[in-house]
Amino acid sequence: MVAVCDPDRSLQAREREDAARRGEPLLTFTDLRELYDCPEVDAVVIATPNHWHALAAIWACQAGKDVYVEKPVSHTVWEGRKLVEAAARYKRIVMAGTQNRSNTGLAAAIAHLRSGALGPIRLVRGFCYKRRPSIGMVRGSRPIPPEVDYDLWCGPAPKGPLLRERLHYDWHWVWETGNADIGNQGIHELDMCRWALGDPGHPARVLSAGGRYVYEDDATTPNTQVAYFEHPGLPPVWFEVRGLPARADIEAMDHYRGVRIGLVVECEGGWYAGGMGGGWTYDRQGRRLTQFSASGTETHPRHFVEAVRDRDPRKVTAPIRMRPSLQRAAAPGEHLVSSRANGAL
């Protein structure tokens, strides 16, 4: 690692201290455009808030850097397309942080299902049952931490007052910077659903419903959601997001056939239930048939490094082309849900 860039100088300091403990030199930057001017940098890992992903990746391509960009690779559909164009134009290696694409156990499970081992696939269900507490409610705007360059932090998003307690992380739950949990943790599981369908293009029809229930807080995104994706000639996909627990008096989350975060693929002769941690196939009576272990996810960054080193895009296990398709097509329905909730439409 040559350099880190963060508009929060306290995080730069933390990285500098870690590097010093390892006895390694480390350049630090506040503005990523200065980092991109740095000739020692060959490739970048983009782990900014979502509203910065596409622009940061496009600027990197234009500067001749290869890119590993966290999911979702873009905040909107249009900018995802622009990133695909930039990667092609500048001939850069660009890989998405959907690390399950390097999970050989999941790949084997999906190949098994797609071979027809359980008969034709009838329905694909994705799940993101992940506890998300309230982010609280502030009275008026909050001060920006002095160590943060707020203009750079906001970047392409509106530079408005901070109307929540915590600047970091909770940007996920505000539309100007985040994509709700369907576009956060849910991206991994939506990607698995799309993989199970054989990586089709965009869905032809999408519908979303839900709301932000129980909490009255500063977040604007739903904490409970169901979304439907229809690809012509393929089984339907249902995606479910739950941020609330199974019951009001406990913290444990619901599950569907044992899955809280993952997917269930329903076939004529049984089903698969699993995800990044592995899974099983079952017959129609619910008897376990075949186990698929989890393995290989940790190799995902290595595949990026190998692709960069060998200038070989075939080694990219999670290409961005069409990576945004199901994920990003999810967002418009999602946005529409939220905007209507806010009375903006």
């Binding site: 392409p156 519908l207 229930y213 129980v214 169901v226 097509a329 418009p332």
Partner: protein, 82 residues
């Protein structure tokens, strides 16, 4: 915000939707949500033309397609031609 009965009707009409909405409703009631009062935010069925990455149909023009794009704050702007 729609009445939850309307959301139920629309979602239950989709393949697999009846079960999805039943569990959605049970989950919220288990969390003390009064769905008759709170309602459900129900988006319309959006038709997407993947070839041009653009919505078509009744909801496309004024509501759905603007959400495919964001007006960036200068100078942090993704150009039309990258």
């Amino acid at each position: 915000m729609e009445h939850f009965e309307r959301a139920r009707e629309e979602i239950a009409a989709l393949p697999g939707g009846e079960d999805v909405f039943r569990r959605f409703e049970e989950h919220l009631r288990a969390n003390g949500v009064d769905l008759e009062k709170s309602g459900v935010v129900l988006g319309p069925m959006l038709e997407f033309d993947g070839a041009v990455e653009w919505f078509r149909g009744a909801w496309a023009g004024r509501r759905a397609n603007p959400l495919l794009h964001r007006r960036d704050r200068p100078p942090f702007v993704i150009p039309e031609r990258v």
